[in-house]
């Protein structure tokens, strides 16, 4: 993600409740699948990145805003996608 946006500070404004297992995972061996690419530019939380091997990475889902954009753009064949468990994840105070 471009360095013009301090997403860490932005996400730092939000309330997140910790969850156990990550609720979104790139399916094994799918990192190079082109269907993952849009998530890198579209994820509002900037959680997706490309590593030096050209693979799309999802290092953490902490900070996920649960918008579902990656589920729409990438397809569930390459992403294992669910909402986080009840009572965890982002909790909007304004919305």
């Amino acid at each position: 993600m471009s360095e013009t946006v301090d997403l860490k500070a932005k996400l730092g404004l939000d309330v997140f409740k910790p969850f156990g297992q990550p609720h979104i995972k790139i399916r094994q061996g799918m990192g190079k699948d082109p269907r993952l690419k849009p998530a890198v530019r579209l994820c509002p939380a900037g959680l997706y990145s490309v590593n030096e091997n050209g693979e799309v990475m999802l290092a953490t889902v902490d900070g996920c805003l649960e918008c579902g954009t990656c589920r729409l753009t990438c397809d569930t064949e390459v992403l294992e996608w669910n909402y986080p468990e009840g009572g965890t994840g982002v909790q909007f105070r304004f919305g």
Binding site: S2, K10, L13, E85, G86, G89, F94, G95
Partner: protein, 428 residues
Amino acid sequence: MDKFDVIIVGAGLAGLGAAYTLAGSGMEVLVLERGDYPGAKNVTGGRLYLNPVRDLFPGLFEKAPLERFIAHEEITLMAKDRSVALTYSGNELREHPHQSYSILRARFDRWLAEQVEAQGVMVLSKTRVDDLIKDNGVITGVLAGGDELRADVVIACDGALSLLSEKAGLRSHASPENFALGIKEVITLDSGTINDRFHLEGNEGVAYLYVGDVTQGKFGGGFLYTNRESLSLGVVIGIEDAMDEKLPIEVPVLLEAFKQRPEIAPLIKGGSPAEYSAHVIPEGGFKALGKLCGNGILVAGDAAGLALNIGFTVRGMEYALASGCFAARAVLKAKEAGNFYTGTLNVYRKLLEESFVLQDLKNFQESPAVVGNPRYFTHYPELIGNLMRDIYTIPAGPKERLYPTLRKHIGLAELWSIFKDLREVMKI
């Protein structure tokens, strides 16, 4: 094993609208919400238009935690280096009852859930629904947190992605062309500053929309709403358009660039960012609607794709409230009939068709294609911006006559293109 009459999944406006309608009917109703509290996962741009839903929820909105009534509308065509705005304000917008209010969902939905609970409906938060229970092709309950919860009928109000509609086979995997992504910041400012800055009296508010460079020419726009003591500032972008790799954009950068525009920066100056949120919005309209009910299940709100963008107005929340209400009425009728099969629940579709919900979506079914015209997002903002620049510029020497100035920008080919675009607009 617990058995309810109705299980509603999702404590948003559709779910709570359904629960409110069922409260007091004698039916046992359970609302399941995955957030810490109702509203915790919900986001709006946004504003709620009350006229279409006042009669469905008599007296409800009088005590609701609404933010400001919208007394000033503005749409701005944003070119790269300039912008042209059209402002509308009128006595009718200041008269009671006000037609629309800015709202914040965490506050509003929590309050609405309290009204529903006060009437005996159980609202269970922190509970994610993982699956539907099916018996011989009939939905008979949900799996939530490892528990089997049974009901005569399930109302899926689980939001724009609606995993439950997919599981129930009511629609196939949601596809990007029917959705937009909205990202938003809530920026706190004291109410006095908001009133001074936006020329407002008392609880008046503004709704500003921005089209053009804000999405770098892609389908979408920017918005600014005044709340009581904050501003909702954000950008909406069509997901399919944003995926296009020929003109790659980074979504978070759009909002940052928008904030730095000279039209926006002074409006948010001195404010403290308080929250950053994101949400997807159904944009496909009537043509993208899936099935609205099946054996033992109904779908309402964003989950059913009930939202409508016609350029000047972008609506969803009143469709959610109303469809929740009609889903509940259909359930009451089915209870009378003694079964919850598709044939009986189909009265839901009829209720929606007789109401503003499906009539609006039908009447504006060409809207998604028309407002998606790429010329609205680059060509027209630039054209009109350049025209205004040349009309207003006073050079050092003599000024060019008005008509040649106009013709320079709007030649025959351009006129023809405008005519063709207008012909499309006639479809809406």
